[in-house]
């Protein structure tokens, strides 16, 4: 097996937050010991609810933020120190796409000029080559040169996200981090962008870290899916298999909560309790206060990711503990 393009080894990141005007500083563990590996040309989908640490993970992987602990390796090498020439060269090979394309674009600059900007910054090609590359990129994302002279305000949401995608691809990156890239788009436009992303990935052999709360979109585009809850990965495995047979009670609830046309809500797992608060992480398994199957051990001991089956890792006492064995025996 080849070495993965992106390797993330037990990264952690915490922020300090003050509660109230005279409150004490409390540490918020946004990401807590996350490890991932993405092979070249593959897509890893990261799902979870707000506050689960998926965006922070994406930012650390891209080097936009340093981890407190752990490290990220890209192409087998550790990330270079920010600001150095080596770092610049590495950064040209990895790009990011955000949820809000209007926020990511400059409203006062024609979009073709914005697609050209990374080429100028990284000094790629002559002026004529850059012009040609911009035309090529517009074509690749199914826009015309006529779109290029427009300002972001004169484009639709789907067209803006195509521009952001074109700009991200300008430096011919190997790796893209997509943070909720289609969440702000209408269903029919979302399908256009998802199809485009799949096509481009196949053509350019892109490696993707795809962050989203939308299970359907994640399944459509990912080979491997990791589910995060309060800063930790609770389950990771093959995309189709994970959604067909979720093992972790949280993944089961997430899959069951995803509404499906033609199915009535009978048998849906409705979790009790509030969404998790990263500032008040429960002891033991962070999910135990909302877990319908929690046992005494869950409140005390934090479960770690353990291999179950050929292609799956789960962090849950009920799946990996002695209970699971007795359940199988019975």
């Amino acid at each position: 097996m080849t070495t993965p393009l992106v390797e993330v080894a037990s990264i952690s990141r915490s922020y300090s937050m003050r509660s109230g005007m005279f409150g004490r500083n409390t540490a918020v563990h946004a990401v807590d010991g996350v490890s991932l590996a993405i092979r070249k040309g593959e897509t890893l989908g990261l799902v979870g609810e707000s506050g689960s640490g998926k965006s922070t993970t994406g930012r650390i992987v891209l080097g936009l933020e340093p981890p407190d602990r752990g490290d990220v390796r890209f192409g087998g090498k550790p990330m270079a120190a920010p600001g150095t020439p080596a770092w610049r060269a590495q950064r040209a090979r990895m790009q990011m796409i955000f949820q809000d394309p209007l926020g990511a674009l400059d409203r006062r600059l024609p979009v073709a000029a914005q697609i050209r900007e990374p080429l100028d910054i990284h000094g790629l090609g002559t002026s004529a080559e850059r012009e040609e590359r911009v035309r090529e990129l517009l074509r690749a994302v199914e826009l015309t040169p006529a779109h290029g002279v427009r300002y972001p305000g004169a484009l639709s949401g789907g067209q803006r996200q195509r521009v952001v995608l074109a700009r991200a691809l300008a430096t011919k990156p190997d790796f893209l981090v997509c943070d909720e890239p289609v969440s702000a788009l209408d269903v029919s436009i979302q399908a256009q962008v998802v199809n485009l992303l799949c096509d481009l990935q196949a053509q350019l052999e892109l490696t993707l870290l795809f962050i989203s709360h939308d299970l359907r979109v994640v399944r459509q585009i990912s080979n491997i899916v990791a589910v995060m809850y309060l800063g930790r990965i609770v389950e990771i495995g093959n995309a189709d298999d994970l959604f067909a047979r979720p093992e972790h009670p949280y993944t089961q609830a997430l899959v069951s909560a995803s509404p499906a046309p033609g199915r009535r809500s009978a048998g849906r797992i409705v979790l009790s309790g509030d969404p998790p608060n990263p500032a008040a992480r429960p002891q033991g398994c962070a999910f135990h206060p909302r877990c319908p199957r929690a046992i005494a051990r869950c409140a005390v001991e934090t479960p770690v990711l353990a291999v179950v089956g050929a292609d799956r890792q789960v962090a849950c006492h009920l799946v990996t503990g002695p209970q699971a064995e007795t359940r199988d025996a019975a």
Partner: protein
């Protein structure tokens, strides 16, 4: 049976630009109707116009009858009894619908005092009861808290409690769970279903999420560019959509199980309301469009029991779908 509310030929124009172009809808007592469509299709405007909640520059025509009485252009005093009393509305962004500097008790009691003949201790007791109904734990103490002290899901529960204050016959829920996480969305939808069952309340669920609508409604209306293009019982529209746009919407939804397939994206974008194409508004994006489609806009016509479609190519569209299934 006379419908609870019936909307006929409802049209809205903002500064001469038509955004709603003749909507007909009716709702029976206790029924749940889903309204789906993309942004700008007029799902929200339909109900804002019906309840007289649009700004003055909006030109609203048509008819909206509640229990047979015309409420479009009714005097303010009468509308005040309808809004919040007979018909309540909840919105996508619950946090901005509450006043951040007043306690939940003040805001709930205000709604109760307006719509119910209660006073003094009775108001407070009823406010606490409503919080219990919507599942806010420890209502007795929490009622003195401010909106920011609640999570997003809890704030939406409080909005639902306020909507219930006037014992409405109809609840308009405009994207009530769009801003919420998946597991919290499931809780809120579950709560709405329970309340509807217990109070026999009718509901209009406005959403861009086909799955949410399919699971929580009896009947679904699909809107496109200010018109209803298809109306059908919820179970039928997903199994057998007839209008090419409805088919496109369902094809664009990635499956959660089974084999992965390439998504059938609808090409192009929604037309600009100021430059609406002649004829059917969907024709420029439609793979089945024929010449007559660009001449006159098709009207919503019944095709079978409880189903109607606005498409002159409905038969061809159905054949195309069956042909695809047979392959």
């Amino acid at each position: 049976m006379a419908p609870l509310i019936s909307i006929e030929r409802l049209s809205v124009a903002f500064n001469g630009v038509p955004v709603l172009r003749g909507v007909d809808l009716s709702l029976q007592q206790g029924e749940a109707l889903g309204l789906v469509g993309e942004s700008g299709s007029g799902k929200s405007v339909t109900w804002l116009a019906a309840l007289g909640l649009l700004p003055r520059q909006a030109k609203v025509t048509g008819s909206v009858r509640l229990d047979g009485r015309e409420i479009l252009g009714a005097p303010a005093a009468e509308l005040d009894r309808v809004r919040g009393g007979r018909v309540a509305m909840i919105f996508q962004d619950p946090a901005s619908a509450l006043n951040p500097v007043l306690t939940i008790r003040r805001q709930l009691c205000e709604a109760l005092a307006l719509h119910r003949d209660l006073s003094g201790e009775a108001v407070k007791a009823e406010a606490r009861r409503l919080l219990d109904v919507v599942g806010i734990p420890d209502a007795k103490r929490r009622i003195e808290a401010y909106p920011h002290e609640f999570s997003g899901g809890q704030v939406q529960r409080i909005m639902i409690a306020m909507a219930l204050a006037g014992h409405p016959d109809l609840l308009i829920a405009d994207e009530p769970t769009t801003a919420l996480d998946a597991t919290i969305q499931a809780q809120i939808l579950d709560l709405l279903a329970t309340i509807r069952r217990e109070m026999g309340m009718a509901m209009v669920l406005i959403s861009h999420d086909l799955g949410v609508v399919a699971e929580n409604c009896d009947r679904v209306a699909v809107m496109y560019a200010g018109r209803i293009v298809e109306e059908a019982p919820a179970n039928q529209i997903f199994a057998d959509p007839v209008h090419p746009y409805a088919q496109g919407l369902i094809g664009a939804l990635p499956p959660l199980d089974g084999p992965r397939r390439r998504l059938t994206a609808i090409p192009g974008t929604v037309p600009d309301p100021a430059r609406m194409p002649a004829g059917c508004a969907f024709a420029p994006r439609c793979s089945l469009a024929a010449e007559p489609c660009c001449v006159a806009a098709p009207s919503l016509a019944p095709i079978s029991d409880g189903r109607s479609v606005a498409c002159i190519r409905a038969e061809a569209s159905r054949r195309a779908l069956l042909g695809m299934a047979a392959e």
